[in-house]
């Protein structure tokens, strides 16, 4: 029977299958961070259990870490410090590799996995974080889990799970000027909704997806969870292999050749059948952003704030009214008239080198609007180092952006980087929920280039006027 990429990975990781269909699957790679792991380690300790495969586990602190240079003198905030220290103690006790804050390899968990070659095609990857879907860009089955499951994986290197359904999202055509991976994924979420892929694993396919860099593919897979999907996948190809070759934890020598030969067998069979198929014409996607408090509230930058009175569905209408009120917006307002207070560039969605290059290209020779605070938070120490080598930091600082240390930062505002009540932010992150970037804060999700244009203009802006 023809199989999808997902079917192939799932089947090759089956350890046991119960009569009722519940499966035990093997986990090849486990990423651990400070927020969702303390209770898991505590559980192991109290049951006198060990970590079964510390060699398949990699830990880093990212959610809570400050992004200011003085962070090496210690985290000021007591609870954050305790959580990061707890992780450091746990990895020492259980023998897990850990990138501490003073390690150049430290960064957002979903950026460092690929960077190190820890993320590999055909593997199963989990992390106590919903954006684990990012690693699907490599053709790995990667998904977020809760803390009880983190403990389960630490103890047994397996998970109890049931198979998901297959969905394929095909993007063909040609991307217009100023349209990026972020615009594609926002358009997809806008089309199918935040619960559109619940119960499914999405495979992204089509000529547009194939033409994307690994970094762009990660942006797409990253936000699969915002469409409700368990995971996102892209078939591994030459672009994937080229990215991985010679990464510190990627296979070397003869192992590399064997791995590549195996990886080439992974793409879905041509006649594989999907439970659901969606297709999207890239030519129709404009630079896209969100207006409301759900990632599905998308609109092209040339558009206006939508009118709830035109919506029939009662549940939807109520949600729209609530969102308009929270966002402080009125139906019919042109997007480009909306003033922003802050700009956040970073996160596991858009904190990689390619993203920072896109921002620098817009920022070069221009100035951040005087009323805007614009933060650039590289996704990892290595991204930061590479950007500095190219001089991107100088361009950005000269234009008035703040150049920060790596971490999750204002994507979820667990550290000091956050919005004040009523402040509006152009953000390259992944969630625009109420309070996500700070209580009362108002988030508009968009691509790095669009966020840069907003920083310069002081309002939401059409990046095509800045190219």
């Amino acid at each position: 029977m023809p199989k999808t990429l997902y079917d192939k990975i799932w089947e090759s990781h089956l350890v046991h299958r119960q009569d009722d269909g519940t499966c035990l699957i093997y986990i090849d790679r486990h990423l651990v961070h400070e927020v969702t792991s303390p209770q898991a380690f505590e559980g192991l300790r109290s049951a006198n259990r060990k970590v079964r495969r510390p060699d398949l586990t990699l830990a880093v602190a990212d959610h809570n870490v400050p992004t200011t240079v003085d962070r090496l003198q210690g985290i000021r905030e007591e609870e954050s410090r305790l959580q990061v220290d707890t992780l450091a103690n746990n990895v020492r006790e259980f023998g897990i590799e850990y990138f501490s804050m003073d390690d150049v390899r430290q960064g957002i968990v979903h950026i460092i996995g690929p960077e190190q070659g820890f993320t590999l095609p055909g593997t199963t990857i989990v992390c106590g974080d919903s954006h684990t879907a990012t690693h699907g860009a490599f053709g790995a089955l990667a998904f977020g889990i809760g803390t009880t499951e983190v403990e389960h994986v630490l103890a047994t290197q397996t998970l109890i799970a049931t198979p998901s359904k297959n969905m394929r999202v095909t993007v063909n055509g040609v991307l217009s000027l100023g349209v990026t991976a972020k615009d594609i994924i926002l358009a997809i979420i806008g089309m199918i909704g935040t619960a559109g892929a619940t119960g499914y694993v999405i495979e992204y396919a089509g000529e547009v997806i194939q033409s994307l860099s690994m970094e762009s593919r990660m942006t797409i897979c990253n936000m699969s969870i915002e469409a409700g999907a368990r995971a996102g996948l892209i078939a591994p190809d030459l672009t994937t292999f080229e990215y991985l070759k010679d990464r510190p934890r990627a296979p070397q020598g003869e192992h590399w050749n064997k791995a590549v030969a195996y990886w080439k067998t992974l793409p879905s069979d041509v006649d594989a059948v999907y439970d659901k198929e969606i297709s999207l014409d890239a030519n129709t996607i404009a630079p896209t952003l969100t207006w409301g408090t759900s990632p599905e509230d998308v609109v092209p930058i040339t558009g206006v704030v939508p009118d709830p009175s035109l919506v029939k569905d009662d549940v939807k209408k109520r949600a729209m009214l609530r969102a308009l009120d929270y966002m402080g917006l009125h139906a019919g307002t042109k997007l480009t008239e909306i003033k922003v207070d802050k700009v956040f560039i970073g996160s596991c969605t858009n904190g990689r080198l390619e993203d920072l290059r896109a921002v620098a290209a817009i920022a070069q020779g221009r100035r951040v609007s005087p009323h805007v605070q614009a933060l650039v938070v590289p996704g990892s120490g290595l991204v930061k180092e590479a950007a500095e080598k190219e001089g991107l930091d100088k361009i950005l600082i000269e234009a008035g952006f703040e150049w920060r240390e790596p971490g999750c930062s204002m994507c979820l505002a667990m550290n000091d980087d956050r919005l004040q009540p009523g402040e509006r932010c152009a953000s390259t992150s992944n969630r625009n929920f109420e309070g996500r970037q700070g209580r009362g804060g108002r988030t508009h999700l968009m691509s790095p280039a669009m966020a840069a244009a907003a920083a310069i203009s002081g309002r939401l802006a059409d990046v095509r006027e800045y190219n």
Binding site: V15, E42, A47, S130, G146, T158, H255, R318, L412, R439
Partner: protein, 200 residues
């Protein structure tokens, strides 16, 4: 994990779609290294004003609903992050069952690991239950027979649940304990992988 067999109690109606985990438990409370004590922060930004006063018209602050053990909500409940702090906060508050037309995947999964039942019913049943709950009518949820009943109105709805998950909830089974019975299968798998995929 505490067993779940039958539950009778007041249900709090919260007719909002896409209630995300940031709303259930905002990030400033994720800095804890414990599982307990999060109930007082459940729905923090909806329950309390910025100066920490109770918001009077939020359902869990209303008389009769302050000790709810069931929550009835809109579709796609629990979307967003994987934080298990969300079911921990609900459980710590005293809520053992959430009834909604649909749930986000990771949240749904996390509930079962904590003895909390995420119960799926069609929207029209939800609407009826919301109405009754609003009037203060208590609900009874019986997991064994997979039935929600209200007294004295005697309205009842049957619900579906994965048989394995039902079994684990009824018995209060811990997953790791179950998996450890399969440890030899795991060792065999690892041995085979060592031969087949040397690069891992």
């Amino acid at each position: 994990m505490e067993k779940f067999s039958q539950l009778t109690g007041q249900a709090a109606p919260l007719p909002v779609a896409n209630i995300d985990t940031d709303a259930i438990i905002p990030k400033q409370f994720l800095k804890t290294i414990k599982r307990t004590g999060l109930g007082k922060y459940l729905f923090n930004d909806w329950r309390y004003s910025p100066d920490n006063q109770e918001v009077g018209d939020f359902v869990l602050n209303k008389p009769g609903f302050r000790e709810s053990t069931i929550l009835i909500a809109g579709p796609n409940f629990g979307c967003g992050s994987s934080r298990e702090h969300a079911p921990w906060a609900l459980l710590d508050f005293g809520i053992r069952c959430i009834i909604a037309p649909s749930f986000a995947d990771i949240f749904f999964n996390n509930c079962f690991k904590n003895g909390v039942l995420p119960l799926v019913l069609p929207q029209d049943c939800i609407d009826q239950l919301m109405d009754l709950a609003q009037k203060g009518v208590p609900l009874t949820i019986d997991l064994e027979t997979q039935r929600v009943t209200t007294f004295p109105h005697n309205v009842h709805f049957d619900f579906d649940i994965d048989p394995f998950r039902k079994h684990c909830l009824l018995k209060g089974l811990d997953d790791i304990g179950l998996t450890e019975q399969l440890i030899s299968n795991i060792s065999v798998y690892e041995k085979n992988m060592k031969n087949e995929k040397l690069w891992l």
